[in-house]
């Protein structure tokens, strides 16, 4: 008895649904996510319940870790370096927009030290980034 030879499926037939899904995922990640440059170090921002919604800005972003590491626009910097960078930024454009992304465990004295530096550089206010409480 001869069985009919099983039809050899084409390679492409199996893979097309897979490609469809992968394309959909690709489009989802392209549209739904925002591409952001990685931070100089890990920071876990504090949580808030009722603050205003905001997009993460790329310019004038100050990063502060709980250990006192500091980065300005992606580059690690010292407190005195930050003063210069902010002062030159303030000279360049008006109104200056400074955003602080600080770790939720940053001690208040460190925050106030940073504020002192900013005051001396001429900044008047700063936006503190937070995440919605989960």
């Amino acid at each position: 008895m001869r069985f009919p030879e099983p039809e050899r499926r084409e390679f492409g037939e199996n893979v097309i649904p897979l490609i469809n899904i992968v394309f959909l995922l690709l489009i989802f990640f392209m549209l739904a996510g925002t591409l952001t440059p990685p931070d100089a170090f890990d920071v876990e921002p504090p949580e808030t319940r009722e603050a205003r919604m905001e997009d993460e800005p790329e310019e004038g972003l100050i990063l502060l870790s709980a250990d006192g590491e500091l980065a300005f626009e992606g580059e690690e910097i010292t407190f005195s370096g930050l003063a210069e960078a902010v002062a030159s930024r303030l000279r360049d454009d008006e109104p200056p927009m400074l955003t602080l992304k600080a770790d939720s465990a940053v001690p208040a004295s460190l925050l106030l030290d940073l504020m002192d530096v900013l005051r001396e550089a001429g900044a008047e206010s700063i936006m503190l980034l937070t995440t919605p409480e989960s």
Partner: protein, 133 residues
């Protein structure tokens, strides 16, 4: 004679595998590089140099202790109590100045919670300052 398979294979002259490779690489790139964080922000005004100004004398002082407890004019309170108390104060006088004085080791999370509560209660002049030494 068996000719058909030869013709079928020609349909995939442009290989599917490299296409899938590229799409997978793009997918992995976008999965790793994109972030889905929701951001909120609160505005902090840069404090003065720690000397008491005239406005400070008429302002209410909120202290944030190291363990996250809150004191208003020396009385311990909670975040809910803070909201009620300042809701009334700001209803009378929206420009009432409030100075938040965190202790040196108070975590930012506690400070943020207090400032956020004061803003939500209607405060417009909330400043952050050091504890006087």
């Amino acid at each position: 004679m068996h000719v058909e398979p030869e013709q079928r294979r020609r349909r995939h002259l442009i290989g599917l595998t490299p296409l899938i490779d590229v799409v997978f690489i793009l997918l992995v790139f976008f999965m790793l590089a994109s972030s889905f964080m929701d951001w909120q922000s609160i505005s902090l005004s840069v404090p003065g140099d720690g000397r008491a100004t005239e406005a400070d004398l008429r302002s209410t002082v909120v202290r944030v202790l190291e363990d996250g407890q809150v004191e208003v004019d020396g009385e311990p309170t909670t975040v809910v109590g803070l909201r009620e108390r300042f809701g009334e104060i700001f209803a009378d006088d929206p420009d009432h100045a409030v100075v938040v004085r965190p202790q040196d080791q108070a975590a930012l999370q506690h400070v943020v919670r207090v400032v956020e509560t004061l803003n939500a209660a209607g405060g417009t002049r909330v400043t952050l300052n050091r504890e006087p030494r």
